[in-house]
């Protein structure tokens, strides 16, 4: 299995452990991820402030670069996945848009190869049975709330799973020997950057997600987006201050949990970089 790999900006900064764990896991499983050379920012939701054509052209440059290698594109960050996939669909479904994008980029892009989230690459392509076969430290007794957020499951045309009750990350947790809890906030929005520029409202939204996870009896939350991680992990202290709560809920990228269950060292996965210390939980479950 070989893919062009798009890390995205967050994965070289605040989400660096998502990059570390994705790459460590891929190495372990023999999935080849070739970083797209000189990739650029996908634009996130801010590219729309400069118009629709720009919002498609910016991510499309990366896809055009990957197409030269004749490879499908694997993306870990949920927001980047969404922007890249949207660009591919826009070009694929409209010859007029394709012509415009090729003109803007001054490159040929035909939308030939699909864009996949790393949840699909590992969970579907590599496969649950194969995952189970590689587990050396099962997540026995670990209750995990799988948090999908927005951009893996919306809008309907780009969703990689059910929009209201997705299960692909829960299935991976199951294959690792853990318990995926049933909970209410799987697909609620984390508020994105509201925690930075409109923090009272931002912390409120994050607080509701943490409260729902706590109520479900989960030991931890697993995510597939660096912004969800930043909000739930780094901003947990802010939520505790706002709500007078004492949450200490460890947050993991699903790739970190996969890596742990397959015996990759926490340090190699970047787990020591989290704000909420996962050490006590991992020791209690004999995972570190």
């Amino acid at each position: 299995m070989k893919y062009a790999y798009y890390p995205g900006c967050s994965l070289s900064a605040t989400g660096v452990e998502f990059n570390m764990s994705t790459l460590a896991l891929a190495r372990k499983l023999g999935v080849e991820l070739r970083e797209i050379p000189q990739w650029n920012c996908c634009g996130a939701s801010y590219s729309h402030n400069r118009g629709h054509l720009f919002a498609i052209a910016l991510p499309a440059r990366n896809l055009a670069l990957a197409e030269r290698e004749k490879l499908e594109v694997a993306v870990s960050c949920a927001a980047c996945y969404n922007k890249l996939k949207a660009a591919r669909e826009a070009v694929k479904s409209s010859p007029e848009m394709k012509e415009k994008i090729n003109r803007v980029l001054n490159m040929e892009y035909n939308a030939t190869y699909d864009v996949l989230s790393s949840v699909e690459v590992f969970g579907k392509r590599y496969g649950l049975d194969n995952i189970s076969a590689r587990v050396t430290k099962p997540l026995t007794g670990l209750r995990v709330a799988s948090y999908y957020g927005c951009l893996l499951v919306r809008p309907p045309q780009l969703a990689m799973d059910d929009q209201e009750n997705p299960s692909s990350i829960d299935d991976i947790i199951g294959a690792l020997g853990g318990t995926a809890v049933d909970w209410s906030h799987k697909v609620e929005c984390c508020g994105a950057f509201h925690s930075t520029y409109n923090s009272k409202a931002g912390f409120h939204v994050i607080g509701d997600i943490l409260a729902a996870a706590a109520e479900s009896g989960a030991d931890c939350i697993t995510v597939a987006c660096p912004l969800c991680m930043l909000n739930l992990d780094m901003r947990q202290a802010n939520v505790n201050r706002q709500r007078k709560t004492k949450y200490k809920i460890p947050i993991f990228y699903f790739t970190e949990l996969m890596g742990l269950a397959m015996g990759i060292l926490p340090k190699e996965l970047g787990i020591q970089k989290h704000f909420v210390n996962p050490g006590p939980l991992l020791r209690a479950k004999a995972l570190a």
Binding site: C9, S10, S12, A13, T14, V16, Q38, W39, N40, C41, G43, A44, S45, Y46, S47, H48, N49, R50, G51, H52, L53, F54, A57, L58, R61, S94, E96, M97, K100, R103, V104, L105, N106, C150, L151, V153, R154, P155, P156, A159, Q163, V187, E188, C189, G191, A192, F193, H194, T196, Y197, N198, S199, A201, H204, V205, M234, Q272, K273, F275
Partner: protein
């Protein structure tokens, strides 16, 4: 209807306003590709919106105001800035109204006309795109620090700075990609094409 009590000047104003608001609605329809008349006001969008509690108008109300052509109220609203683009509304809408795309179109128009009641959010978006233009990527440390500095809340995340550096999460210096100016060209060429009227 020919009533003698209505002054002529008022009639002129109303009809000018009416024309203006209809052309605004038509422009939004054209730019977003969404027909505002598709919305039948069920309110499902507002019910699921994660930021509704912080908005001045509910997402459903924005649709109604658009149907009625209430240009000024829409373009001065906080709602179009507070939308986090989570796509919950569109995903659940029984009429498949792409509300986030409408919000994008309205925000873009508000920017063009110089309205931005949510100054911080506007600033953040500007800095984000500035970074992409300069470096080809978003330099997160610069973005967060630059934002806090310019928005006058420099001390807000100051405690997070050392922790981030300690965790080696963010680098202090930006790294420019060797794209031969390709990203800058995307900025410039899309603008040119939109000016030519070749936008979609």
């Amino acid at each position: 209807m020919g009533s003698k009590t209505v002054k002529k000047s008022n009639l002129v104003n109303i009809s000018t306003l009416f024309t203006e608001s209809r052309s605004f609605v038509a422009m939004v329809r054209q730019e977003s590709g969404v027909d505002e008349k598709d919305c039948y006001q069920c309110g499902k969008c507002s019910a699921g919106c994660p930021l509704a509690f912080d908005m001045d108008y509910m997402p459903r109300e924005i649709m109604r105001m658009l149907q009625l052509g209430m240009v000024d109220d829409i373009l001065h609203s906080h709602t179009i800035w507070l939308c986090s683009h989570c796509i919950t509304c569109y995903s659940r809408c029984p009429r498949s109204v792409d509300l986030p795309r409408i919000m994008d179109t309205l925000r873009l128009e508000a920017i063009k006309r110089g309205h931005a009641p949510e100054k911080q959010i506007k600033l953040f978006g500007d800095l984000f795109l500035w970074s992409v233009r300069q470096f080809g990527r978003v330099f997160e440390m610069g973005l967060i620090m630059g934002f806090n500095l310019k928005s006058g809340q420099f001390f807000k995340d100051i405690m997070l700075g050392p922790a981030m550096l300690l965790n080696r999460k963010i680098s202090l210096l930006p790294h420019k990609i060797a794209d031969g100016g390709a990203v800058k060209e995307i900025f410039d060429r899309t603008k040119e094409m939109e000016r030519e009227g070749g936008h979609s």
